[in-house]
């Protein structure tokens, strides 16, 4: 969907950005879920929460590598850290991401050394997990916020994208934890409230996406809306987001308690759905038919 240098004018954000935003969402969601497990769940779930924090740090680290790969001058990536533009959300985002990654890793180390005792978190861990949750929330919203700032590309301008990305971040982060749980964790049973949460997250996303589709079809950008809903990008929505990301995971919650196989299927499908959602929105908002003033 993105080619040479001439195409970069129309499609400046390509696959590395899509993957970075997906990984950032997974990291943010995994961190939020891990913090919740540490605060609320019984101690048996703390091991999974510890893995989740490591996953957050690793996810944001690898996501940043994709972001660096997307630079046209990757050897200059350090400039984003050294130079600061307070008006630029990317400038803030990079610093939030760095702090988030370091705090997740630090908290994982604390937990790894046995920071939690008798299920009660020490003050230092309460503080770091509180900060991680706050930064995780920011990172869940941040990619959408960056897209929303683009005056040139009105299809990214909808404020619905931010809560949609956040809900998807929690959904994919939770799925990543389930994947860890199934692949090697000690707790292989379904988490308490897991089914209900699955349903709530799908319903919230469906509602937000439905409103976003209304926004798409009413903004005067008919060609772009057609491309998104029944054109080139439509499979990412109907197959990727709705079938794989929502319907199959919902189906795994039906009937008796899910075993490892169903949990694995659910987690993989949700992760693919998260990637599909970002692909659909990021590529959908770019292109000649999605530029401001192409239709009036």
């Amino acid at each position: 969907m993105s080619g040479g240098h001439a195409d970069l004018i129309l499609t400046p954000f390509g696959w590395p950005v899509v993957i970075y935003m997906t990984l950032a969402g997974i990291s943010a969601g995994a961190a939020l879920t891990s913090c919740w497990l540490l605060w609320k769940a019984e101690e048996g779930w703390h091991r999974l929460a510890r893995h989740g924090l490591l996953l957050s740090a690793a996810g944001i680290f690898f996501g940043s590598l994709f972001l660096i790969a997307d630079l046209e001058a990757p050897s200059r990536f350090w400039m984003i850290l050294v130079y600061f533009n307070p008006a630029s959300w990317i400038s803030w985002g990079v610093r939030i991401i760095t702090l988030f990654g370091m705090l997740s890793l630090f908290t994982w180390l604390l937990l790894h050394r046995g920071g939690a005792t008798n299920g009660e978190l020490p003050t230092s861990l309460k503080l770091t997990t509180g900060l991680i949750a706050f930064l995780g929330l920011a990172i869940g919203l941040y990619p959408a916020w960056v897209l929303m700032q683009s005056v040139a590309r009105p299809l990214w301008g909808s404020p619905l994208i931010a809560p949609l990305f956040l809900a998807s971040a929690v959904h994919t982060g939770l799925a990543a934890l389930v994947l860890i749980q199934v692949m090697g964790g000690s707790e292989r049973r379904e988490a308490p409230g897991g089914r209900r949460l699955e349903g709530v997250l799908v319903v919230v996303q469906a509602l937000l996406l439905g409103l976003y589709v209304l926004f798409l079809t009413s903004g005067g950008y008919d060609a772009a809306a057609a491309r998104l809903l029944h054109g080139e990008l439509a499979p990412w929505l109907w197959v990727g987001v709705i079938l794989l990301g929502w319907l199959i995971p919902l189906a795994t919650t039906l009937g008796s308690a899910a075993g490892s196989g169903r949990l694995l299927l659910r987690a993989v499908c949700v992760l693919v759905g998260g990637l599909a959602l970002r692909t659909w929105i990021i590529f959908g908002g770019q292109g000649a038919d999605a530029l401001i003033s192409t239709l009036r």
């Binding site: 040479g4 001439a6 004018i9 400046p12 046209e72 130079y83 700032q149 040139a152 009036r296």
Partner: protein, 231 residues
């Protein structure tokens, strides 16, 4: 050249230059003949590689009669420039006379400015990997010359001056001819104004490089290792 007195070559750099508060350009579409002299002069002046343009001319098919209109496009040097806010390294800066310039030593090619620009005026230079765009030829205007495109235009369709100075001939020309910005609804308050701008041009001028035909743009690009441009 603009309506102002041309500066003799022998005096370049010797005469004190007038300080402008808002460097700007007026593009008279009723004078433009689509000769690409501006694009070629710009390419030559700045050694812009194939596939990139600081200044380009789009050919637009008129909806009401079978003729073409020509639309020179360049960086609009917006007063509320979204590229300035988008750049995380402050590589884009505003000059004293309001023009927007790129500090190549600070650019890391993250394309945030490319994504932010409503005019698709910023591109990635394929030789440097860094953002590039029109800067009204700072190196020329600071020694009293007009930008290369203005100097090259055979029809006086491009005029450079101070839009804030009511005495400036270019400012007066803009006022008299009712010049207005392109894509005004983007809300960026451009410093490039157009005479003869018509509403139908906005949907027609999608972001191809040179020519817009039907709903598709033809993008000329030189793949590495090939000698002929591909379509």
């Amino acid at each position: 050249m603009s309506d102002s007195e041309p500066v003799p070559w022998e005096n370049v750099g010797r005469e004190p230059q007038k300080a402008r508060s808002r460097a700007g350009m007026v593009v008279d579409l009723e004078r433009c003949i689509g000769c690409h002299a501006c694009s070629v002069a710009c390419k030559t002046e700045h050694s812009v590689p194939l596939g990139g343009f600081r200044t380009r001319v789009r050919y637009l098919e008129r909806p009401d009669r079978p003729t073409l209109a020509f639309l020179p496009l360049l960086c609009m040097q917006c007063q509320d420039a979204p590229c300035l806010d988008a750049c995380p390294t402050e590589a884009l800066r505003r000059g004293a006379d309001g023009r927007v310039e790129i500090d190549q030593d600070r650019c890391c090619g993250n394309k945030a400015c490319v994504a932010a620009c409503p005019y698709q005026a910023i591109f990635i230079n394929s030789e440097t990997g860094l953002a590039d765009k029109c800067d009204f030829c700072t190196h020329r205007t600071e020694v009293g010359l007009d930008p290369a495109c203005v100097a090259a235009c055979p029809c006086d369709a491009l005029r450079f001056g101070d839009l804030d100075d009511a005495q400036d001939p270019v400012s007066q020309y803009a006022e008299q001819r009712g010049a207005r910005p392109f894509k005004e609804d983007a809300g960026t308050r451009p410093s490039v104004l157009y005479v003869g701008h018509e509403d139908w041009m906005e949907p027609a001028a999608k972001s191809g490089i040179q020519i817009s035909r039907e709903d598709r743009d033809i993008v000329y690009e030189q793949p590495v290792g090939e000698t002929e441009p591909s379509r």
